[in-house]
């Protein structure tokens, strides 16, 4: 149904896939062209809707991976084996295809320069996607805000944006990785699930009042958030976003 767009309302729009970029064996970045896109803030997401020939629809939320000034809207999607939407997006979607989405959505899990820092980003798995948007935003704005990223993944091959993160680490962004399974030979990083000790070692002290963003699966976010509170961090400065097996694949 084509209707006039009402400002402030969420309207479904058709985006065109410009390019697909392999991030890992299971994840792709989808570069989209979207006429009339109002722009977004780092950390926001979009809802994607697929419609089958028989009219059946499935809808999921995906975080925006690009920074507001990147020029294109980029989503990074990891394939869930029993997923309804992500296998199509990762395996079937081709450049030139159209994709129905609405957004930008959300205002809580958002970072912009005016919020300051220091900024501590904590990612579990594909929870790194919205945090990558924040990292790019922080870099692009020439911000003086110090930023650290703690990123937990299963194996080195599951790390999204590996080259980009390596480049940032070689400049002045403090990036620490922890691998929960099968670290490669000679691995220098952490080799376990996150815990309060790790958060304390990598992050700032509660006295330095870091602004903390945690994104990952529910259990990961639970562990991180309760760890920060136990370490004495102000809950008001901790923002979390969870994703799970249904309804909001990332």
């Amino acid at each position: 149904m084509a209707g006039a767009a009402i400002p402030g309302r969420l309207n479904w729009q058709l985006a065109t896939v410009r390019e697909l970029v392999d991030e890992t064996a299971r994840a792709k970045s989808i570069v989209l062209e979207l006429p009339g896109w109002p722009g977004h803030r780092a950390g926001q997401h979009v809802d994607v809707r697929l419609t089958a020939h028989d009219g059946y629809q499935a809808q999921r939320s995906y975080s925006i991976a690009s920074a507001p000034d990147d020029g294109h809207l980029v989503l990074t999607v990891e394939r869930l084996e029993d997923g309804e939407v992500s296998p199509y997006l990762v395996d079937e979607l081709r450049a030139g295809d159209e994709l129905e989405l609405r957004g930008p959505i959300g205002g809580y899990f958002v970072w912009e320069q005016s919020l300051g820092g220091p900024l501590f980003l904590v990612a579990g798995g594909s929870g790194v996607v919205p945090l990558r948007s924040m990292l790019r935003q922080q870099r692009a704005g020439g911000s003086e805000v110090p930023v650290r990223l703690l990123y937990s993944a299963r194996t080195l091959d599951d790390i999204l944006y590996r080259d980009e993160l390596a480049r940032l680490a070689s400049v002045d962004v403090d990036i620490r990785l922890t691998l929960t399974r099968l670290p490669p030979d000679g691995w220098q990083g952490y080799q376990r699930r996150i815990d309060p000790e790790m958060l304390e070692q990598v992050g700032w002290s509660p006295e330095e009042r870091p602004l903390v963003y945690v994104c990952g699966p529910s259990g990961f976010v639970e562990t991180a958030a309760s760890g920060f509170v136990a370490l004495g961090h102000d809950p008001q400065r901790i923002r979390t976003e969870r994703f799970g097996p249904t309804g909001s694949e990332r």
Partner: protein
Amino acid sequence: MTALDGNAIAGLLQEVFGREMTTVNGICASCGATRPMAELNVYLRAPGTVVRCASCEDVVMVLVTIRGITCVDLRGLDAG
């Protein structure tokens, strides 16, 4: 069943209320906890979407969409 949070239904809430809702504070009618909607516990696998208080786990809100129409029950949300 694992809970998600209010961010997961940000689109649905915006559709229903006509504005961004995750930063809006919600008051639990049961225990009085006041938190941004983003911090509520959200269960998507129930028949419909069940939203519970993150402090006392009482039901704050239930949303059910049938044939494009969303019914919203704000049974546990206090006006404040």
